[in-house]
Subunit: 344 residues, 2 copies
DNA sequence: ATGAAAGCGCTAACAT
DNA sequence: ATGTTAGCGCTTTCAT
């Protein structure tokens, strides 16, 4: 059935021109008379011709595909996808933004491993969301000279000599941490604890650092618990237990992962502490489940859609050798106040 | 900086063999003496050589990428991503499964449109989740002879002459609908209403059909409300209002979309109806937010991970011209009973 | 304004 | 077991 796809040569023959002319009318290179263009286009249309992206890719050394490496995507336990909302919104928006640029968006777990899918490496560029300390992927991309953009900075990364070499979408952990903590403070909390995940990414590390400084500034005693992201609510439960057993109960908790926040809330209520009357809670990442929880839980909405759009935009700029657009002064990420920290 | 990538020729020269030998050692075609293989491999290693996937693709007419078309991905409003949990779990698992097969997974909204990203069409095959009535994409793929797999059947599609031509991952709407309705019935509900979305896909259409038959069989009066998926909880609220205003209040509701179920619950409680005492609820799609809702809401877990794995498996089989594996007798999708329909 | 021809990096006949 | 060579479909000098 599937008759061989028409090639550029078929079109040329049918239009009575050379392949060069066909190529030119489609790429916009060279100059071809409007009348000829018309002929070529209609010939192409009749034949149902579409330029072969792979052949183009071979010549131009550009495939038209960018890869998204999401650290939430664990190759070993895909069913354990952490932070579903963030991942979905980010991936969805990134796909749409890429498509709008005429690029495909490939989902990749981590091409560093031995079984790296060949196609993964064929991408024109990479978006790495939440790179971790000494990220091997970042090292690989850097040494291979493959363009990439990270969402959140590479913690402890050697200071980049050329900042333009590795554009970065700022996730503004510092500002957002302060935002969340100040909000808890203003709501009356004075013993504010922090619950983070254990991935060594900017979000966890910087938040902890800023929290310490903030605590010193406010003259409160810092209390932290770190639990693996993948433990979900159970992780939050453990963190809450740890905090409660460690000393006087906190009257405010900032839990970075949405599921941790949910776990914290359940332990609190089991122990007879009311939210928000006794303890105010803010989660560091927004999710559907927070909105519909009882009480609804306040959170930092990282606006993954916007982050994804910026990441694609920055990567495309880099691919085109243009400077990345500057978003200074356009903060991303916002506090969403819900019942868990609202006026009691 | 980026020195030109080494090519197969560089490796051949360095190993003192022909390009054919290099090609053969990597593809496994032909026969190459083990000793030679060794030489080739180490030469390749020294040079940091990786076969160029694009060039391979050009020759083999296979890129090593499959495309995922998710209907939840609306190009116009990516921030309005519907059914986040399903999308994320499906896409995540599909990506991991593809990668395991050495294939990349490209996210695509709908390559049918005019601004179709070229790369999208370059994929070796497509996975279409939840095709709709007379799906234009399915028509396009069929006529272009591009391999694809649908998750859920194409409603009202002309009966396919060759069933092997368009493999299908069965989402088992019939069985799951009966499962949910029987569960409500056994929990004591007798006026059971149905809330569906308005997308014209198998899930909505078949569920409604099975519901009607089931109602006839149980001799209850069917009561249905259809609201757009994208309206989220607000849609559920409208549906609930419609149902409550239409006659005697239902004592059981099966709401296909998780957010609709949440909306239904909130309207019920606003009107003084208790869940599950007065009305029992089951949602037709599982989500984090249902698990953590109060009361927690029962649901049909469609097991998107498993569906995705099967879809990839079927597509890969098709690409290799093997028959698709048969999963008859291995039901997918299960009822998760939570407080909203548990014993009162 | 148009065309001829040389590859892009690789694979697959077809020798040897 | 290894090598020669002709393309895959396209872009791109370089002529004309």
């Amino acid at each position: 059935m599937a008759a061989r796809r028409p090639t550029i040569r078929d079109v040329a023959r049918r239009a009575g021109v050379s392949v060069t002319t066909v190529s030119h009318t489609f790429t916009g290179n060279g100059t071809v008379a409007p009348a000829t263009q018309q002929r070529v286009r209609s010939a192409a249309h009749d034949l149902g011709y579409r330029p072969d992206v792979i052949a183009q890719g071979l010549r131009r050394n550009r495939l038209g595909v960018i890869a998204l490496v999401a650290r939430q995507l664990d190759a070993l336990r895909p069913d354990l996808l952490v932070d579903v909302d963030y991942f979905a919104r980010f991936a969805g928006a990134a796909a749409v933004a890429s498509l709008a640029e005429g690029l495909g968006l490939m989902l990749v777990s981590d091409p560093t491993g031995p079984r790296a899918a060949g196609a993964a490496l064929a991408s024109d560029g990479f978006i790495v969301t939440e790179p971790v300390t000494d990220d091997p992927l970042v090292a690989m991309l850097t040494s291979a000279g493959i363009p990439f953009v990270t969402v959140g900075e590479v913690p402890g990364g050697a200071p980049v000599d050329d900042p333009a070499a590795a554009p970065l979408v700022d996730i503004e952990s510092g500002r957002l941490t302060t935002l969340a903590l100040d909000h808890l403070w203003e709501a009356g909390a004075r013993r504010i604890a922090l619950v983070t995940g254990t991935d060594r990414n900017e979000w966890n590390l910087r938040t902890a650092a800023v929290y310490r400084r903030w605590a010193a500034y406010r003259r409160i005693t810092p209390a932290m618990a770190h639990v693996p992201e993948a433990l979900d609510d159970e992780g939050g439960r453990r963190a809450a237990a740890t905090l409660l057993d460690a000393g006087p109960p906190p009257d405010g908790v900032y839990a970075l992962t949405s599921n941790h926040a949910l776990g914290v809330v359940s332990v609190l209520s089991e122990r007879g502490l009311r939210v928000p009357e006794d303890v105010r809670i803010v989660a560091g990442s927004d999710a559907e489940s927070l909105r519909t929880a009882h009480p609804a839980i306040s959170s930092i909405d990282l606006q993954p859609d916007e982050l994804a759009r910026r990441a694609v935009e920055a990567l495309v700029a880099r691919l085109d050798d243009r400077p990345a657009p500057d978003h200074t002064g356009e903060p991303v990420g916002q506090l969403v106040v819900r019942a868990s920290s609202g006026s009691a």
